[in-house]
Subunit: 418 residues, 2 copies
């Protein structure tokens, strides 16, 4: 079925905000096996919006509109869609009741006419309760065509789409589509593609699609079947084959898990505490780890040691080491990790020192050279990496590789039979 | 003049990438006084692309297309636009020469037919040399309508647009449009709007438009005139009035300057060195500062002290202070900043301790309570902040407020007559 996405909002046409809803909805539609041939952005203007809806109805089966469902005069998506379909607006008692409760809770006294406008819906609409805002989602059907209306803020749009719209769209599909994500770290994109060339060559169902992320490659395995169970059954041998080919390079097969989540979970599992020492990444590694709720159990402290003096004073890196080998060296990285543990009594440590550029590179030590070290159980492992890209790209890759190094050290130490 | 933006690429329809070009081009058009009423995204499909171009030509004066200019068979934007306008494709000798040089430099031997396809242009096209790729930009004109074709990668699109397309579009405008950005920190959005209500009320030329960013408000002052000088002359008294109303709350009037850039520049100017100590922001403040090239002159080290023990051990925060007042308190923030300086001999310090949530809040100390302290010249200033929003929003606001606090302390100390 052909889906068309229409985004309503002058702020998008003025370039005030990035259209993240476009990426999100396109990706989710593709995952559900729905084809998106067009996306349009139009302002809060009745005539232009109506024209865009009419064009969409002529060439697509399902229109998904987002934005313009608020209480102000500018918000006219609902009314315009109803007009195009020839549906009158009627009050939805259930939505009115939810609005009443909402305003009572806020102790808002001056509830205006325009607030109550949000309880009006096109006749016959399926009303989707919005747990995160006052504008409900709506599904309108007429003459074999469907219009889905969603509020613009992602915090409202995403839960509404996943909980209410996706099941509805799937129920209209002749087949069930399920997918799983195999996330790989430590193998380059072209190497990954090479390793699965034979699997991709003759694929039909399931399919494997690679997505490159900074320092990672994700493989999406997608199956079509009559039921969810059958789709899962189809995916199982493919995922198993990927696991046998990539082994420990796979850090998760769970869609929602990030590398930092996996690493924090492992630290918790083995009751480890971590300290970080960062030079060229200057806090990015720590900042990424602390995004995980509950990290305080395992992450207590970190050092940012940008200068040589800081490396010496805060981490006890030897003056001679810095002199003989330089700040960006295997030896300095080694001592930085050890210093973390010595200074804080943590059980594990990660240290990063490198040249992020644009300046500071030499023939011998070019921009992109980064040493990453991991201390665990009285052992220090140091990896030499040569990253490509700009200042930020180099830093991001270093952060990913550092988390991956810790993951591998924990596996080696706790999960591998000696 | 009405501009329509058309983005060509299946990867956008699949949601593989965010359409950052849409935000960029929309913003630039708005700045040049051009109205964008529609954005469309369409795949690499001749029929659908041709239909989209035809629709655009019917309702807009200028179409800007990006993507689909590469050498592969999928790339058909140029050919399709030419077909719709009824223009034959001809070889452009200059582009062919540039391609030859490019492949010679790469020592690429197998230059194929499809590579040379990039030298073909619609007859009469204005060819815009692309310094960052092989596909030139193109401007086509026919029957009073204009089609601009740009390559999709932002690293190619942005320089081409700013160097070649923008001057062209401006030359078609009856007036010159110039703008300047007044960036404010430390005053809330509604307060800012309140303070300039009278200026906005009757505005015509120049105009003032507020943009809210996390922890900041930017005011764009835009003037239309016959010449650049005249536009600047019109803006001058408005910017002066804003400066007199907001004083030190304005951290820059330079479009390209960020708060971190301004703070790093001030540290350099007064030959100060900075150390940071972060609890709830866990490295975000340091990571933001190190984005500025040359920061190593002034930023040498930082601490991430997530746990109480880390605050005690690494920063020397008193055990009794933590016990009596808690980790999130004015007293702890005070001692953290002092500890930074004591441990590292830096001349200035910033410390942040707070509750970013979602857990850990109490009635007394709710989620969003953050203490930020700044040490400078033997004095410690501590600010109590109550931020709203989720974990990330609270952290981002804390980082902005911390940089702003340092900026204000430096102004008080070095730039204010006592």
């Amino acid at each position: 079925m052909a889906v068309e996405l229409i985004f309503v909002g002058t702020e998008l046409l003025l370039g005030n905000i990035l259209n993240t809803n476009a990426k999100y909805l396109s990706e989710r539609c593709a995952l559900s096996g729905l084809s998106v041939y067009y996306q349009s952005v139009v302002g809060d203007n009745e005539e232009r919006l109506a024209e865009t809806i009419r064009t969409g109805l002529n060439r697509s089966d399902i229109l998904i509109l987002s934005g313009g469902l608020g209480p102000t005069e500018d918000d006219l998506t609902k009314e315009t869609a109803a007009k195009v379909l020839g549906l009158p607006m009627v009050e939805d008692p259930h939505t009115k009741e939810l609005l009443k409760q909402y305003f009572a809770k806020l102790k808002q006294k001056n509830v205006t006419e325009s607030n109550w406008k949000q309880a009006l819906v096109p006749e016959g609409a399926v009303v989707l309760d919005n747990d995160n805002g006052t504008a409900p989602g709506l599904i309108l059907e007429k003459d074999g065509k469907t219009i889905v209306l969603l509020p613009g803020p992602p915090a409202e749009l995403i839960p509404l789409f996943e909980k209410k719209v996706e099941p509805y769209l799937c129920s209209k599909q002749p087949e069930t589509i399920r997918s799983t994500m195999v996330k790989i770290c430590g193998v380059g994109e072209s190497k990954v593609e090479d390793m699965i060339k034979d699997m991709i060559a003759g694929q039909d169902n399931p399919t494997i699609a690679p997505y490159a992320k900074t320092g990672e490659v994700h493989l999406r395995v997608t199956a079509r079947a009559q039921s969810e169970d059958e789709a899962k059954k189809l995916m199982k041998p493919v995922v198993k084959e990927l696991k046998s080919r990539f082994g420990n390079h796979i850090y998760t097969t769970k869609e929602q898990d990030t590398l930092e989540q996996v690493v924090v979970d492992m630290l918790k599992k083995y009751e480890l505490t971590l300290t970080t020492a960062e030079s060229c990444t200057g806090g990015l590694l720590a900042a990424r780890l602390i995004n995980i709720p509950g990290v305080s159990e395992v992450f207590k402290s970190g050092f940012i040691t940008y200068s040589n003096k800081a490396k010496r004073k805060l981490l006890g890196v030897n003056k001679n080491t810095l002199k003989k080998y330089g700040a960006v060296s295997e030896e300095t990285a080694h001592e930085m990790a050890k210093g973390c543990v010595f200074e804080t009594d943590s059980l594990a440590a990660l240290a990063i020192t490198g040249i992020a550029g644009p300046d500071g590179g030499t023939d011998d030590k070019p921009v992109g050279l980064v040493y990453i070290s991991c201390y665990l159980n009285d052992q220090v492992v140091v990896k030499e990496c040569r990253f490509k890209g700009d200042r930020n790209k180099i830093r991001e890759q270093a952060v990913v590789r550092a988390m991956d190094l810790l993951r591998r050290c924990i596996i080696d130490h706790f999960e591998t039979k000696k």
